[in-house]
Subunit: 209 residues, 2 copies
Amino acid sequence: MPPTDTPASTSLRERKKTETWHAIHDAAAELALDDDTKHVTVEAIASEAGISQRTFFNYFPTKEDAILGVMPPSAPELPEDFLDEEGLIHRTTELLLTVGRSTYAEGDADRRSKLFEKFPHLLLRRREMMMQGEDLVYQMIATAMADHPAWSGGLNGHSVEQAARMLTMAAGVPLRYLIVTRGAAGGYLAQSSVDDALDLYQDLYRKLS
Amino acid sequence: MPPTDTPASTSLRERKKTETWHAIHDAAAELALDDDTKHVTVEAIASEAGISQRTFFNYFPTKEDAILGVMPPSAPELPEDFLDEEGLIHRTTELLLTVGRSTYAEGDADRRSKLFEKFPHLLLRRREMMMQGEDLVYQMIATAMADHPAWSGGLNGHSVEQAARMLTMAAGVPLRYLIVTRGAAGGYLAQSSVDDALDLYQDLYRKLS
DNA sequence: CTGCATCACTGCAATTTTGCAGTTGCGCAA
DNA sequence: TTGCGCAACTGCAAAATTGCAGTGATGCAG
């Protein structure tokens, strides 16, 4: 039950829902960072956020997801011409990035860094979310390919599913590169770094093909 | 759907309900006092209070009641010995006062004064609530009398209902006196004034009986 | 090792809030 | 007068929140 894309200018219901979501996540993150001594309980988080324990679990399946502020990945609609050759890998990488970012609340990259520092096991959860995002992108692309005249027949004897999976994999390379080189725990994928990695990848790709 | 007696230390549900009640009342009162120019709408109040218009009407039957902060009268349980002669009228007056006060939120006597100044028609509503309170007290006393050995037979050929009604009337005298002398619109029945009136009434009563 | 407390998490029914589509009363312009 | 629009208020079904009574895992004292 995560907040949708637009935090403002929607219905009262939507606005309250994202408010509650943020209240819970903020409470959870702050308590987890502040409190060194004792275990942070769901009860404490719910109380701090001003909601019941039951409502807590209506928003987050686990306490850890609340601390991290995880939400299920969501993706924008693909433009009509998404599959039309030129720069497809690049566009897919951007898409992966967008989807990956959609699994976290915006704007608390700083706090998230501290959380990763203090609770390294959250990185595991992060990787899971990334993979869910990749899977979502794969699904979308496979569907789009099936509907696309130039792709619906597959690629050189490979199925549409295989082609979609491979494209997603290839597009994921710059991101994996980033994670490896910049350190997974640090501040989060600045756009400049992303652009850098994208350039490098393209250069390499061109040189080798 | 008014808040119950204890604003704190109850369930989360109760607490939120009184919070919402106060949010609506505060928004309504402030808007009504601040806004000279245009008509204050329910929409504006609801928006200010952060709830929907529909929820507004779950809490208050009319806009005016929201501005005034009216709630249905409520009364404490009568002690066992309530009807036992000595000082009965006095106790009933206190009960009327308690019930009368229960129809408003505590603590904004000042703002309520301003409201009465600015919107004199609210005084009509105030009188209505007073009468509802009197009626509630009458009901309680009549019920108590019917269960009481010394009263259940009525009084000197009059029915229990008649006796209860008369007692309530008599006990209401000091309060009516207060309202008349202190000006109905002004600040609200300070305890000292009430005590004064009570004393005077008792003195008069003793002298004449 | 065993009972026992604590805490994360779930299922479900009751309560509350919301959105929406009304109806009604009222002032105001054509 | 007649029609029109605004704003108070209501009925109802969908969605959100809550309380409560669980289950299961884990750690700790005896």
